[in-house]
């Protein structure tokens, strides 16, 4: 079980190599996240930073934390984020015009102050201090250790947090939900309507566009068996925009000759 546990406070050669390869990549990705223009690129770089963090956790014997970091943050949170961003579309990039005067210098000052504070605190907590207790905490196995802490000492905090999250989720749903005045036609209703309508023809879907073998594009209505164009075969948008071609020029010449 503790084949992964190494002497506490020691950094083995593989771990150091891993660190010196991944750490610069993580820092570059984090900086890139701030400076790229497209929101999706930003989100991707953030996902990469999360994955590298997870690898660091695993390398430092926090297996469970590392894997859960990937499942929860990369898999669920970032995926939801991407879901929203995708609705924005591929071409949009954020405008970099300043809306509030003097915001940039203020933000830079605050950022430098905060990072100075964080770095000094983390350095004081870590540099020159022996890390202790990892072996004891992982003695039964990493997962069992976390489970014991979570379900004995911290069970109250754990349950309060989960109640908070559920309240937030239900609250968001209540706020976003409104009772519709009349029921929205869903896929099911449309499907029923197609079969119960006046003509069974609609059940099979609309006819495809184009005159076969001569002009097969979406902007030409298909021809019905009697040779007249079928208006339902092309999109109403194209018709309104005036992008519709007549299907007359694409009719087979041969047919006329035969008639003569």
């Amino acid at each position: 079980m503790d084949s992964f546990a190494i002497e506490v406070g020691q950094t083995l050669a593989p771990e150091a190599t891993l660190f010196w390869i991944l750490a610069p990549l993580a820092v570059i990705a984090a900086l890139g996240m701030l400076f790229v223009k497209k929101a999706v690129h930003s989100a991707l770089l953030l996902a990469w930073v999360m994955v590298t963090l997870a690898i660091f956790y695993i390398a430092q014997d926090a297996l469970f934390l590392g894997i859960v970091q990937i499942i929860v943050y990369t898999g669920a949170v970032m995926m939801l984020f991407l879901f929203i961003l995708m609705l924005v579309g591929v071409d949009s990039s954020d405008s970099l015009v300043e809306n509030i005067r003097g915001q940039r210098p203020l933000a830079i000052t605050a950022a430098i102050g905060l990072s100075g504070l964080l770095v000094s605190l983390i350095a004081r907590a870590n540099l020159g201090v022996e890390a202790v207790g990892l072996r004891g905490a992982n003695s039964e196995g990493n997962v069992q250790g976390i489970a014991r802490e979570l379900f004995t000492n911290y069970v109250w905090a754990f349950e309060v947090v989960s109640a908070l999250l559920i309240t937030a989720a239900v609250g968001a749903m209540v706020l976003a939900h409104s009772n519709p005045v009349k029921s929205r036609t869903a896929q099911r209703d449309k499907s029923i309507a197609r079969f119960r309508g006046d003509s069974i023809a609609a059940a099979a879907g609309l006819p495809g566009s184009g005159v076969y073998a001569l002009h097969n594009a979406v902007d030409v209505p298909a021809l019905l068996p009697d040779g007249s164009p079928a208006p339902s075969s092309i999109s109403a948008t194209l018709e309104a925009r005036g992008d519709m071609l007549s299907s007359k020029p694409f009719e087979l010449e041969v047919k006329k000759e035969e008639e003569d």
Binding site: I70, M79, R188, S191, D198
Partner: protein, 411 residues
């Protein structure tokens, strides 16, 4: 010795050999499964399937792959070039990584070294596979977004919603397995099944897992992200040549990977069928690989069978099924399983356990009969409502007198 201890003694080159073997086996399995799927589906549809290239058409998939690789590689003008290239790479690399923790055999002798066919055994092995799968979805979602056109975008949106919802059901179905095995490591889950496979003792979990693993791999009837009929291929509409081949490879390796996971979790992994335990020592232990592969092929056959049988679900039905059926059902099942587990661990007498199970069965029966009666009532209410009578002729509904028709016949 547990698997983790055996693997810890492996020299580095053995790990490399195992990694190479897994890679080669996965690529070969893809080629074979493409061929196998086409032949099987063809049989189900009264056709012959590919039978021209090589004996029985066996190297058809290889020929197709070579042809695919030689096609022109297009990148649409509106695409986001970097992400467009990265997406198939993410898909194709992550799908192989799940095999690192899956035990393919019992103790065997590989080049004079006593080992097991498993690259590594970590205490959170199954969660690791989950993590890798959730990264793999990025490939599909990003492919949909970066193509810069409508159908792929819709495919990408569908697939991200699909994965978020079905991963919950899948994760919940595994909780019962973890509770009974007392571990999340794949090797220990296999060794916990030495008496009874979990597909028997935890049958509801197995059913939920089997359903959500089809949703997880984007396969029919849950292949809404690529839905050829409505989305023209969905997320990979704009892809061609090698990039498309990578998606293709990823899809089939993923099928093999979830089949292998299901085998490990519910069908006893590399162990022989009950009563055939003596075969596990044949060929110096290598026969266990055959058992493992046989079970994986069984799951693969189910995948193909489903595709040949079921039409694609409507998107709203699919989401409703995930959120309103699978998730509540697995939550209730977890409650039952953990209560039973605690009862038996506390040394409760057998009569209490049986009484508890009996009570649950009664509750389920009462619930289902209530549900049925309310459904019947709703159906009656629906009948009273106005239904437009279609103008085209319809066949008589059995058990009902069709007034129009009787009038026609009489008059």
């Amino acid at each position: 010795m547990t698997n983790a201890e055996i693997i810890a003694t492996d020299p580095g080159w053995i790990t490399l050999v195992k990694g190479l073997l897994i890679f080669v086996v996965c690529v070969l399995a893809t080629l074979m499964s493409v061929w196998g799927e086409r032949r099987l589906v063809a049989r189900m549809q009264q056709r012959m399937g590919p039978n021209r290239v090589g004996p029985f058409g066996l190297i058809q998939a290889l020929a197709d792959g070579v042809k695919l690789a030689l096609k022109e590689d297009l990148i649409p003008k509106a695409a986001d070039r970097i992400v467009f290239v990265i997406a198939p790479i993410i898909s194709a690399t992550t799908c192989f990584m799940a095999f690192a923790v899956i035990p393919l055999s019992g103790p065997v002798n590989l080049f004079g070294q006593e080992t097991v066919m498993q690259m590594t055994d970590i205490p959170v092995g199954v969660l690791y596979i989950f993590a890798i799968a959730s990264i793999g979805v990025y490939g599909i979602v990003l492919a949909g977004w970066s193509s810069g056109s409508t159908y792929p975008l819709l495919g990408g949106l569908r697939s991200s919603a699909q994965v978020i919802s079905y991963e919950i059901a899948m994760g919940l179905s595994l909780v019962a397995v973890f509770i009974y095995a007392g571990s999340m490591s794949t090797a220990e889950i296999v060794s916990a099944q030495d008496q009874w496979w979990f597909c028997v003792t935890l049958f509801p979990s197995f059913v939920i897992f089997a359903i959500s693993m089809v949703g997880e791999t984007n396969r029919a009837p849950f292949d809404l992200a690529e839905a050829e009929g409505e989305l023209v291929g969905g997320f990979h509409t704009e892809y061609s040549s090698l990039k498309f081949a990578l998606f293709f490879l990823a899809e089939y390796v993923n099928i093999v990977a979830v089949s292998a996971l299901a085998t490990t979790l519910f069908l006893g992994g590399y162990r022989a069928l009950p009563g055939l335990g003596f075969t596990e020592s044949w060929l110096g232990g290598w026969f266990t690989v055959i058992w493992f592969l046989a079970k994986v092929v069984f799951f693969f056959f189910i995948f193909v069978w489903l595709r040949g049988t079921l039409p694609r679900l409507r998107y709203d039905q699919f989401m409703k099924f995930g959120w309103k059926v699978l998730i509540p059902f697995s939550l209730i099942w977890i409650l039952i399983v953990s209560t039973l587990r605690v009862l038996s661990q506390q040394g409760a007498p057998r009569s209490v356990l049986i009484g508890f199970s009996f009570g649950i069965v009664l509750l389920v029966l009462a619930g289902s009969s209530l549900f049925e009666s309310s459904k019947k009532r709703r159906a009656q209410e629906d009948e009273l409502g106005e239904v437009a009578v279609p103008s085209f002729p319809v066949p008589a509904i059995p058990g009902k007198i069709n007034k129009n028709r009787t009038e026609q016949l009489n008059g």
